[in-house]
């Protein structure tokens, strides 16, 4: 019941937030620059060519009309065509989305599988060597510029040691495209060679992306576990002589997890932001590089397209976080 209410609330705000986002990006692309068409046409274009382009793109119409026209076509799934790839933007985005999702999910899995146990251990063995080491890792994790980390990893592993490829998503031919995720497709088609190659290509970018996320998760889990260790029910279980591992791995961890779930949702936001820059460093063919390049080339329809997708992904992620939180915390289900 509560879950339904939360879902409805999130969805109710989906449209207005997205619309707001569109207004913001529309302002950025159409209103701020002196003459967007001139910008797009480039310095060499003659005034006549610029005017021709303006009419072709419909930029001569009043701004509100342009906006309404854009939104109407968007609702019908038409995001317009990219000025550079000449292909419908929806097509570009759908083609590139799996690369970003695969990178982000792998980074998420790594940071969750490593982050939570390390967080718990550093709380249990507080002020031990592990705890202090992790504190250094977490503090630096939040302070490293992810693009610089990427470059440093490239310098060490790719260039100096040669263990991993420098960049790109795969050297050879991609596996038969079933889902668009190289790892999954390669696994499904038992093509372990490509699977290995894809994994190697993923290594550095995923590590670059995972490091700040890992730092945040360790820090948050540690605080959560420390907090639960102070609670009365832990004191009661210690007083009743229950085995320490049972108290830690069943009762303390379970309580700490309920708050960590929401943190994992926020993590997705950090990862998406990181992906944009990390993809640029590793020439990763995802929507991140697509967004950066379209911005650099003033391909505004593409930028608007990316913003809509990023916004949508964000709202869906928040919805998933609410769902996960309700599933994890039984009290939510019984009210």
């Amino acid at each position: 019941m509560r879950l339904l209410a939360l879902a409805l609330h999130r969805l109710a705000w989906f449209a207005p937030t997205l619309l707001g986002l569109l207004v913001v990006t529309f302002v950025i692309s159409r209103i701020i620059p002196a003459d967007p068409v001139a910008l797009v046409a480039g310095e060499t274009a003659t005034p006549e060519q610029v005017e021709a382009l303006r009419r072709e793109l419909g930029f001569d119409r009043p701004l509100p009309v342009q906006f309404v026209d854009y939104v109407v076509r968007l609702v019908r799934g038409d995001m317009g065509t990219s000025l550079f790839t000449r292909r419908p933007i929806v097509e570009d985005l759908r083609h590139r989305l799996p690369a970003t999702i695969e990178l982000t999910v792998v980074a998420m899995v790594v940071s969750v599988l490593a982050g939570i146990p390390l967080g718990v251990l550093s709380a249990l063995w507080r002020n031990s060597l592990l705890d202090h080491a992790l504190r250094v890792v977490t503090v630096s994790g939040l302070a490293i510029a992810s693009f610089w980390l990427g470059i440093m990893l490239q310098l060490l592993f790719a260039m100096r040691l040669g263990w991993t490829p420098l960049n790109g998503r795969l050297q050879g031919f991609p596996p038969r495209s079933l889902t668009g995720f190289y790892l999954v497709d390669a696994a499904l088609t038992w093509d372990w060679a490509t699977f290995g190659a894809a994994l190697l290509h993923l290594a550095l970018p995923a590590a670059t992306l995972a490091f700040p996320a890992l730092a945040t998760l360790v820090r948050f889990t540690r605080a959560g576990v420390l907090d639960v260790m102070q609670s009365n029910f832990v004191l009661y279980e210690r007083a009743m002589g229950l085995p320490r591992p049972l108290i830690v791995w069943k009762y303390i961890l379970r309580s700490a997890l309920t708050s960590t779930v929401t943190q994992i949702g926020l993590l997705f936001g950090i990862l998406l932001a990181g992906a944009v820059v990390t993809e640029a460093v590793f020439d990763w063919p995802g929507i991140g590089t697509y967004a950066v390049n379209s911005i650099l080339r003033s391909d505004y329809n593409a930028v608007m397209g990316f913003t809509v997708w990023a916004g949508a992904i964000f709202i869906v992620v928040n919805l998933l976080v609410d769902v996960a939180h309700t599933l994890v915390d039984p009290r939510e289900r019984t009210t």
Binding site: V139, R222, V276
Partner: protein
């Protein structure tokens, strides 16, 4: 001034906060005394192609870049850019975000919902994307970077202040002062604001670190101040071409960014405890 001195002395007792203070002092000193400390102060503008990509040596402690300029000296002047961007961008974000968060937090109803929805819109997309879009549209320059960062960062402060104000209203002393006959306006300015000052200062410090990272990313993507400004982000971008041999060219600016942001993060954690005498968390959670 005694309050500031009181805070500093308390901070020095906390090891990590002390490191934070030292790092920031290092940044500020190197920025202020750049002309004195730099071994080749004029290298910010002059080029010596003949000495390009020299390894770190007695003359050039951190080697030279692709134009033969001394990496170490350019880093020092780069510190000025970093501080400038950080302070103005965070300052502007505070100036916009805090009042909005305060008004939205205190007055329930449609106004608070509207303000928070607007900030949600900005927070719905990674800040770096919007910042890139704005910076590129306005053209790469220092003021444009600062504008791009401020416009996309105020919602973060608005949300923080909103949450703190809402939490504060549950405090008994707010209800009791209202019962004493204090008007909502008096409560907001004289009671709510001072009590959320410390959480804001803590977030501002962490926000500085975050803003510097984002500014460096913009620089890296070529959207920061144009050459020859010695901006750290763009220096790293330039250096990529000459890796792996000119390793110092990429490593040095990255380390500078890392140490600066670490400084602000550590200071933020330290301030969190010192500034909240009443809400001082128990010893266990403190080193969380």
């Amino acid at each position: 001034m005694s309050a500031v001195w009181f805070v500093i002395t308390r901070l020095t007792r906390d090891r990590s906060a002390l490191i934070g203070l030292v790092l920031i002092a290092l940044l500020v000193l190197s920025a202020a005394l750049a002309p004195v400390l730099a071994t080749h102060p004029d290298d910010v503008f002059e080029l010596h192609p003949s000495e390009r990509l020299g390894a770190p040596s007695g003359a050039h402690w951190l080697g030279t870049d692709r134009m033969g300029a001394d990496v170490y000296s350019r880093l020092l002047f780069g510190a000025r850019i970093t501080i400038l961007i950080g302070i103005i961008a965070v300052g502007a974000s505070l100036a916009i975000g805090v009042p909005i968060g305060l008004v939205a937090g205190y007055h329930h109803g449609w106004l608070s919902d509207l303000l928070m929805r607007v900030s949600d819109i900005f927070l719905a997309v990674p800040q770096v994307v919007l910042a890139i879009a704005i910076a590129q549209t306005l053209g790469p320059s220092l003021p444009n970077v600062i504008l791009a960062l401020s416009v996309t960062y105020w919602p973060w402060f608005a949300r923080v202040v909103y949450a703190e104000t809402r939490a504060l209203q549950k405090e008994i002393f707010v209800e009791s002062t209202a019962a004493l006959g204090a008007s909502p306006w008096r409560l907001t300015v004289l009671h709510v604001l001072p009590n959320i000052a410390s959480p804001i200062i803590v977030r501002a410090s962490i926000g500085m670190g975050f803003t510097i990272l984002t500014a460096a990313a913009l620089g890296f993507l070529g959207l920061g101040p144009p050459p020859p400004t010695p901006e750290w982000g763009r220096t790293i971008a330039e250096s990529r071409e000459f890796l792996p041999n000119a390793w110092w060219y990429a490593t040095a600016p990255g380390l500078a960014i890392f140490l600066t942001v670490m400084g602000f993060n550590l200071l933020g954690d330290g301030l969190r405890d010192v500034l909240d005498p009443r809400l001082r968390r128990s010893r266990t959670a403190r080193d969380g």
